[in-house]
């Protein structure tokens, strides 16, 4: 039986082929495509012109913030409400199906495992739906509000606009290497802070070369090779989504909450003592937001009231570490310092800078 070794050949070759294909395949796709050169300004205009485009695609979000992952390990269960939900959205990885048809029709479906949370915008109607909790919320957008509400600031375009509106001279804007995102050729716009006093390394935005739709949005942190936060399309289709997708009717058995939208939010704010207003220290990337004494004292010391509050307190205590004079939450992008007197300092800076600011 001299040929015995030959019968083992497939067992050696098949894994080798699979490994080779999985290593070579993605690298082939990464080759930088050739595109006519554009300036940063032209790219921004290209993005601004893409407001009316219609497309649908799959968006992948991932974060490496250095925080404990709060995603539930339970395959089917896990609560999606309460204070954990917001943190979970930021720290865990998500996949979302995004469908956009012009500025007035949008749908974002966060694809939880065996569940879904989605936001549907159709004209002036906004629906939020959570399958696991069997809850829905409905709101009517007031006529003068033109931007999308916060819940939809999820596509790269909307996030990018927010970012670009805060740009000041402390930022260098450059055009990076052309990239290939979701099978499309894309320009890359890179924003680099000119100061070293911030945790943000660079912010890059990939813009579809044809339509100007932003395809990916990545924040890199100082001294970390993996992106701290990344939202990118893994596939995108530039044909108009079917109109019925934007017509949401809550299914039977769902708890529906009507959310009143105030016409003039600013006037409804109660008059505040100037001493309790948040202050901004410094400017640009290294600016620090300071909240006055008493802002956070309750979060650690108060007896939790109800299950959600207990959950929030446990999360806080788990995430913060004790330092001299207070507690610090350190992530790769944002640091929060809570002084023992309840003052809160937060910013994209190191903990030392926050503590120094608290002592001034």
């Amino acid at each position: 039986m001299a040929k015995n070794w030959q019968r083992w050949l497939p067992a050696g070759i098949v894994p080798a082929v699979i490994v080779a294909a999985s290593v070579v395949g993605p690298n082939l796709a990464q080759a930088s495509p050739k595109l006519p050169a554009k300036t940063a300004q032209e790219l921004l205009e290209l993005v601004a012109d893409s407001k009316d485009s219609a497309f649908s695609g799959t968006l992948e979000q991932s974060s490496e913030l250095g925080l404990p992952e709060l995603q539930s390990m339970d395959p089917g269960g896990g609560s999606t409400d309460g204070p954990g939900a917001a943190l979970e959205l930021l720290t865990a990885d998500h996949t979302a199906q995004v469908s956009i048809d012009g500025p007035d029709k949008a749908r974002v479906q966060v694809q939880d495992r065996l569940g879904e949370r989605n936001v549907t915008l159709n004209g002036d109607e906004v629906w939020y739906y959570d399958f696991r909790e069997q809850e829905a919320a409905h709101a009517v957008r007031p006529a003068e509000v033109t931007e999308a509400p916060m819940g939809e600031a999820y596509t790269p375009g909307q996030i990018a606009e927010k970012f670009l509106s805060t740009i000041d001279p402390s930022t260098e804007i450059t055009v990076g290497d052309n990239a290939r995102v979701a099978g499309r050729t894309a320009y890359e716009l890179v924003l680099t802070p000119s100061t070293d006093d911030t945790l943000v390394g660079a912010v890059s935005l990939a813009v579809d070369s044809e339509t100007g739709v932003p395809l990916s949005f990545i924040i890199a942190a100082q001294g970390q090779s993996e992106p701290a936060f990344s939202v990118a399309f893994s596939s995108i289709d530039f044909s108009a989504p079917v109109a019925t997708l934007f017509e949401f009717t809550p299914p039977a058995g769902t708890t529906v909450t009507e959310v009143p939208v105030k016409e003039h939010r600013d006037h409804d704010m109660p008059d505040r003592d100037p001493g309790t207003e948040p202050r901004v220290l410094g400017e640009g990337w290294s600016s620090i937001v300071a909240l006055p004494a008493g802002s956070a004292s309750d979060a650690f010391t108060a007896t939790p009231n109800g299950e959600d509050a207990a959950e929030a307190q446990a999360l806080l205590q788990q995430a913060f570490t004790q330092v001299d004079g207070g507690r610090v939450l350190q992530t790769s992008l944002v640091t929060v310092f809570i002084a023992d007197d309840g003052r809160v300092f937060a910013g994209a800076v190191s903990a030392d800078q926050l503590i120094a600011a608290s002592q001034q």
Binding site: M1, I13, V14, G76, Q109, E116, Q134, P251, A252
Partner: protein, 292 residues
């Protein structure tokens, strides 16, 4: 080599497979009929059918569960009995389905070797390759039958104990019975495909031993190990390579529009496992000395 001393059966011959396709089909037919005539197979199917029945009866006898707690879809059952299928699938995928697949796949070759029938199977003009293929096909058929058992029993018991009506999908869209039935079938297909990788692993382990219980236990244990590895965030780089990685991705078929991505990814992954462990099973089985 000690093999020379033993009266060795004719080695696997691929030519026979091509020359007599009918023989392969009748072998598959007899394999499947033997599989489904065994009392053990029926006991396992009955155990699988008991899962949705148990869930439905417990929910019926107790207060309606609170949304967001317990296994997925549990809270929806009181609204719509058709959700029993989904809850039962969620509960059976991590343990009961892999366990039964482990029994069937682990028994494929080792069972025949243990009974002393493997020799006779190969003395008849049956190539070893074809025997492997037929055994694997039998295990795959059991995957489908097992999944369908859970799904259909769930729908039936749900319809018997609870009100039924148009079904709300994960996205909040409501579909009628026809649309839901199609999605349930797709779902059963998804879960069946998910289990094919495990079946291939079981087949390979089964060629290593003539003690079927060992192969069964090893296969079921591997399914558990893979799921534990998949739950450890420290091993994130490994997760997309685990055969259990997409096991709960079946929810993507219940969205509107259907997210096909995980179906494709899952099929590709399982195909990889079938190729690797199929090749290893071939390497082992075609060079093995068949003593019993």
């Amino acid at each position: 080599m000690p093999a020379e001393a033993v009266p060795s059966p004719p080695p696997g011959n691929d030519g026979v497979v091509r020359a007599r396709p009918f023989a392969g089909r009748s072998l598959l037919g007899s394999e499947i009929s033997v599989l489904f005539r065994r009392r053990r197979t029926w006991a396992m199917l009955a155990a699988l059918a008991a899962i949705p029945i148990l869930i439905a009866v417990v929910v019926r006898l107790s207060e309606g569960p609170e949304p967001g707690r317990g296994p997925a879809f549990l809270a929806s059952i009181t609204q719509n009995g058709l959700f029993v299928s989904l809850t039962a699938l969620t509960v059976s995928i991590p343990l009961f389905l892999p366990l039964t697949i482990g029994v069937v796949a682990g028994d494929t070759i080792a069972g025949e070797a243990n009974l002393g029938t493997l020799r006779y199977l190969l003395v008849a003009p049956t190539g070893r390759v074809r025997l492997l293929l037929v055994k694997y096909a039998g295990a795959a058929v059991f995957c489908l039958v097992g999944t369908l058992t859970v799904v259909t029993t769930g729908a039936l018991i749900g319809a018997a104990l609870f009100p039924i009506g148009p079904v709300a999908l994960l996205s909040g869209t409501t579909v009628g019975f026809g649309g839901y039935a199609v999605r349930l079938l797709l779902l059963a297909l998804y879960v069946t495909v998910s289990l094919l990788g495990l079946s291939a692993i079981g087949l390979f382990i089964s060629t290593l031993t003539s003690v079927p219980v060992g192969a069964m236990a090893a296969t079921a244990a591997l399914a558990a190990v893979s799921q534990i590895l998949g739950a450890l965030p420290q091993l994130e780089w490994m997760h997309p390579w685990l055969f259990t990685h997409y096991w709960f991705g079946f929810g993507d078929l219940l969205r509107d529009p259907i997210a096909w991505q995980s179906f494709g990814d899952n099929a590709l992954l399982q195909l990889g496992y079938i190729a690797v462990f199929g090749a290893m099973a071939y390497g082992r089985f075609s060079t093995k000395d068949i003593l019993t």
